[in-house]
Symmetry: C2
Subunit: 213 residues, 2 copies
């Protein structure tokens, strides 16, 4: 059935994944430098031997995790934008456009741990040119997808954008990120954070999408 190339064909992938999942939690909770390989292994139910059989080092694993998170986020947003475009449910007023933006940007794992993990990735990107390039590329890719959605909404609804698509998209991402961060810092849970983000967007989005037709 499944291809049995080496010794534990799907076991290896499963181990890698369990280690990566555990690492995502620990990295988020205490940061890369304060994370011991042992603590990751413990949470995943392995010992250090398994870790070093799958990853060259703690840093290499962090890079892989960051890349994986970036891919997931971009793919998820792209899928939602495409889905939205396919549904043809893009008619909106400046007020109801907020819900569409929320539907696209409310990513899975964008809870307390997710925000912490993204913050951890971001600060390492600030210090590491290679990571910075990858981070900014993810940011641009997210921006392109949001810009596409914004453009679709404006076109379908006869609304005029107050700023160029790209700038609107970057602004939305920035408001989302900043508001989420502040909400998490204030101890809001997932619902409370969503609430604050919605309030922020409800203020900003109508200014960006002015009615015209």
């Amino acid at each position: 059935m499944s291809d049995t190339t080496a010794t534990t064909p799907r076991g290896r992938e499963a181990t890698r994944q369990r280690l990566l999942d555990a690492a995502a939690e620990v990295f988020a909770e205490v940061g890369l430098d304060a994370t011991s390989v042992e603590s990751v292994c413990e949470r995943a139910g392995f010992t250090r031997g398994a870790f070093y059989s799958n990853f060259a080092s703690k840093e290499e694993m962090f890079l892989e995790l960051a890349a994986s998170v970036a891919r997931s986020r971009v793919a998820e947003v792209e899928a939602r934008v495409t889905e939205l475009a396919g549904e043809g449910t893009l008619e909106a007023t400046p007020a109801t456009a907020v819900a569409l933006v929320e539907r696209v940007l409310d990513l899975p794992g964008d809870d307390r741990l997710g925000v912490l993990l993204m913050s951890e990735i971001r600060i390492h990107a600030l210090r590491n040119p290679a990571m910075a390039e990858a981070f900014l590329e993810q940011d641009r890719e997210l921006g392109r997808n949001i810009a596409r959605m914004i453009g679709d909404i404006a076109r379908a609804s006869g609304l005029r954008l107050a700023l160029p698509q790209d700038q609107v998209a970057q602004l939305l991402l920035l408001v989302w990120e900043g508001t989420m961060t502040r909400a998490v810092m204030a101890g809001r849970d997932r619902l409370g954070a969503r609430d604050e983000v919605q309030k922020s967007l409800a203020g900003v989005v109508p200014l960006l999408i002015a009615g015209s037709d």
Copy 2:
């Protein structure tokens, strides 16, 4: 002249300050956890003995540094807002208001190292409730001052705000921070970063301050 209470009256304060300055750099460059007390002392021109004579631990020093940075930022912004109000130079159009906002928010030390240090402080605040409270209080205080300035400008210029003062202020801070972070990550120098921030603000500010009478 100066009060000679103990042994080295102003020498002690000078040592503390040199250690704090050195620590600010190292914390920014590599992060709290990757910082060794030794590296801070080396940069300040001392050895570990001097450090532990002045600070209880690395963490305690970080807290003190974070508090000091927060105080400076709040004080600087407040001083500029008050200065601006005193000058009576608050007449502005939606376009020229950008320069006033810039003049207040372009803080000293808001270069690459400053952004890194604030990011480091922020991520620890995300993980530490006590630091979070202090960080959010600084944020609110900055917001109050910006809101005051925004209100003054609108009143003096006969402009109408598109959103409540507080929300406008928070949005400006958020745009400032997000744009600066992205600019630093892209490797922009101080001038390049200012440029990007100005472009962002030039887009957003006119939407927030709509002309009326």
